[in-house]
């Protein structure tokens, strides 16, 4: 008769060790977040020891590397918002139209082609978008096709091409949300004599609204955090102007432009890296938390 009792065998000790190792791996993600927040906060506080919070938040000139340095971050925030707004102005309508098409109209054969193309677009490295904006979009499209008088480095090109970059994100998350709306809702509307357009706009779109808003916010977060596209095509000159034809610099582009090996630790430039990074992180964190909440909400409703 076999014993049924627990024995502190080698096997059960191994099981315990395995569980601990797995837990440690999971804990790494918490450690990463703490490290990010910790490093950004620490240097930011240090920075505000040298530069006043007011000057940082409300100053309109950003020139930290100059001999007569200015540390007003508004130009960077403005650059970030401006380029992102242009990007969203492109990506939101186009992305939502693509999403409605894929979710409500497209026949299967067409879907099988369109979805991979969008996934391809999503998989193109952002530097390629930057190259495209600088070497093709500005000279051939803006200056050539539309005859606009824009600088070589300008926010308009960076913004529009960034819209193309963000479009697949918005399209796929919004399409997900709309596809999750149950067929029974659509059938009820069709049964009452509604047209396809009416069902798509009046029934499906509102039903999927929280997921769609999540898609928009996720797209905005991607736009805000995007670095090399603006670095390469938007120029290195922070500006508070509303002229999209001139160069603008975003927070992320600034960080990338001053980083790189030779920045002395503890110098004021080094600290600006973290302070601007903190500002950027706070902005995207806010956007991400809201969008994650919304995605959870729309998933819960239909599952």
């Amino acid at each position: 008769m076999i014993s049924l009792t627990r024995t502190p065998s080698l096997r059960s000790r191994c099981e315990g060790a395995i569980k601990m190792a797995l837990f440690a791996a999971a804990a790494l993600s918490i450690v990463t977040t703490l490290a990010i927040i910790g490093s950004l906060t620490f240097e930011t506080i240090d920075f505000f020891g040298d530069v006043g919070v007011g000057e940082y938040l409300f100053g309109t000139k950003w020139a930290p590397t100059f001999a007569d340095a200015s540390f007003g971050v508004l130009p960077l925030i403005w650059g970030t918002l401006y380029v992102s707004l242009i990007a969203l102005a492109v990506a939101v309508p186009l992305g939502l139209l693509c999403a409605i098409y894929l979710a409500e109209y497209a026949p299967n054969r067409v879907r099988k082609v369109v979805k991979p193309v969008l996934e391809l677009l999503a998989g193109v490295p952002t530097i390629v978008f930057g190259y495209f904006a600088l070497t093709f979009f500005t000279p051939e499209v803006l200056q050539g096709l539309f005859g606009l008088h824009v600088d070589v480095y300008n926010a308009l090109a960076a913004g529009i091409v960034m819209g193309l970059l963000v479009l697949p994100t918005i399209a796929s998350v919004a399409e997900d949300a709309m596809s999750a709306v149950p067929a029974s809702l659509r059938e009820g509307a069709f049964g009452l004599g509604a047209s396809k357009l009416q069902v798509a706009i009046r029934i499906v779109f509102p039903a999927a609204l929280s997921g769609i808003v999540a898609a928009l916010i996720l797209g905005a977060s991607r736009a805000v955090g995007e670095t090399v596209l603006v670095l390469v095509a938007g120029g290195q000159g922070p500006s508070m102007s509303v002229d999209p034809g001139g160069s603008h610099q975003t927070m992320a582009a600034f960080i990338a432009s001053i980083a790189g090996g030779d920045l002395p630790t503890g110098s004021i430039e080094y600290k600006t890296l973290f302070t601007v990074g903190f500002t950027l992180f706070a902005m995207t964190l806010l956007l991400n938390v809201v969008s994650i909440r919304l995605v959870r909400k729309y998933r819960q409703v239909y599952e």
Partner: protein, 303 residues
């Protein structure tokens, strides 16, 4: 009216079921055009991007381009060997780090952790957040802790690899969790009912059943990692090095970094060679994605 008059009046009526109004038909057509236009613009955009870099860059891609090292002065004698080798090394370091850590974390969260406790929810939200943090923030993290700070190994290959690993780890965790979740509970029950322990069930049933999904996800995550520029710029990748990395503690560069530097160059000849490097990068991504799709089609477990 007489009966004959009523019958005549009835015949003059055209249809019992009214035709669609002109207004509805027009709205439908306009909307359809808008959707086709949106999808069309996405296609055109992708096409233009490919046309741009392929047109500029293909002429330069030959064996000498692939085997030479970059020159800072002479474009005609520049090549991307150090960039290609750096990218491949970074990919391997990434794979070695994220595969075990990602799978272990996913296994812990799916199989061992108690879903009702608030800590579990916290870890989940944390991972979703980390997946949406801008890549440049990971660069700052790497700079603060790995390149300088407590670990302080300098702007070396391993630092770049670890930074990229932290960047894509959340994505791998999310993908691995989904693959593990796809294994039906009945398989686990069957295994446990035969007297297997929890770890035996995971090791012998759950992981083999989800490995195809995990592998596909890992390859896609790695292809994202090698397209990333911003974190490597902040970590301090070398500019046009004339050597391959000779160890984990060596200076390094990568294809996206080389592309950025050449794109920013004032000499047009260098800018064109950036396009050549883009061609090589895209070819590499194409190969990786094809492998992932092949893996998925061949080995995907259909339950």
């Amino acid at each position: 009216m007489t009966g004959a008059q009523m019958a005549a009046a009835a015949r003059r009526q055209t249809t019992v079921i009214p035709r669609r109004s002109a207004g509805a038909a027009i709205s439908d057509i306009v909307f359809r055009l808008m959707m086709y236009g949106a999808v069309g613009l996405a296609f055109v955009g992708l096409g233009a991007i490919i046309y741009d870099f392929a047109g500029d860059g293909l002429p330069f891609v030959d064996s000498s381009f692939l085997t030479r090292f970059p020159s800072r002065v002479i474009p005609e004698r520049s090549g991307i060997q150090s960039a290609i080798v750096g990218t491949i090394y970074l990919m391997f370091i990434c794979a070695v780090l994220v595969v075990p850590l990602g799978i272990m974390t996913a296994v812990y969260l799916e199989e061992y952790a108690d879903r009702d406790r608030w800590q579990h929810r916290l870890v989940e939200v944390n991972i979703q957040n980390l997946a949406a943090v801008p890549s440049i923030v990971y660069g700052i993290l790497g700079l603060a802790f790995i390149v300088r700070g407590p670990i302080g190994m300098g702007p070396v290959l391993l630092a770049g690899g670890i930074t990229l690993s932290l960047l894509v780890l959340p994505v791998v965790i999310i993908v691995a969790r989904e693959a593990i979740r796809a294994v039906p509970p009945s398989i686990r029950e069957g295994s446990l009912a035969l007297g297997a322990t929890q770890w035996q069930t995971i090791w012998r049933q759950v992981l083999p059943g989800s490995i195809a999904g995990i592998a596909t996800g890992v390859i896609l995550a790695l292809s994202r990692a090698i397209g990333e520029t911003a974190p490597l710029l902040v970590v301090g990748a070398a500019v046009s090095p004339r050597f391959n990395p000779n160890g984990l503690d060596s200076a390094f560069t990568a294809l996206p970094v080389q592309i950025v530097k050449w794109t920013q160059d004032s000499e047009q000849a260098f800018v064109q060679r950036a396009a050549g490097a883009i061609v090589v990068l895209m070819a590499l991504l194409l190969i990786m994605n094809s492998i992932a799709i092949w893996l998925r089609n061949r080995y995907e477990q259909k339950w």
